[in-house]
Symmetry: C2
Subunit: 103 residues, 2 copies
DNA sequence: TCGATAGTTCAAGATAGCCGAACTATTAAA
DNA sequence: TTTAATAGTTCGGCTATCTTGAACTATCGA
């Protein structure tokens, strides 16, 4: 039973946040979560072809960056964007990044 | 005689721009350039102790991300933030990142 | 209980980043 | 005009990070 750790946003440095967003796959995942409230891991996947382990690692990094919160629900892991927390810590950053994201 | 290549901003993907900013040293360098108009390489350095080769590589990446322009002036390389170009390509991004930068 | 589902963790190979050492180019001094 | 100093770049090797298949854990449905 994986017990996920979620950092306090004040402990997340800007570099880590930017690094988490500086990847096309993760950015797509964040955009999906921004649009859909709560998604399972496979639901948040940027594409079908991505390996499970890679997906899991991306989500782990997004967690470490304070971008998402993951809770277990049955055998699924439910991911949710920590938008309020993140916006308080880095005002405007997520909005700007999502707005500049390629279509 | 190094002949620097500067990308057109429309060819710079968001991931690369974020990646370039997702490093404390580079971010410090960008902040310095944002405050000082034109700086030599060592002038833009984030600290005294950083090796020249590392510094040079950071500047190369900032160039590739469309963040700076480098021209030769004598034996110095003069770096300038491509703020207008970058802002046109990624509106608001640089402002937000600089505003969220740790003091 | 058995199988399928959903995801994590591990480890190994691939990739990227850091930095010392050698090199280039320019300026200044002798 | 050498000679030396300055300002960086480039190269190569080491390290660290990323990716991914394989093995594992846990839960649900039949």
């Amino acid at each position: 039973m994986p017990r996920f750790t979620h950092p306090r946003l004040e402990d997340v440095p800007l570099d880590l946040a930017l690094h988490a967003l500086a990847d096309p796959n993760r950015l797509t995942m964040v955009a999906r979560l921004a649009a859909t409230e709560r998604l399972s891991c496979t639901g948040a996947a940027p594409c079908e072809s991505i390996p499970k382990s890679t997906l899991s690692n991306h989500l782990k990094l997004l967690r470490a960056a304070g971008l998402i919160e993951t809770t277990q629900a049955g055998r699924e892991m439910i991911n949710r964007l920590r938008r309020d927390d993140f916006d308080r810590r880095f005002p405007g950053l997520l909005d700007v990044v999502l707005a500049n994201r390629p279509a």
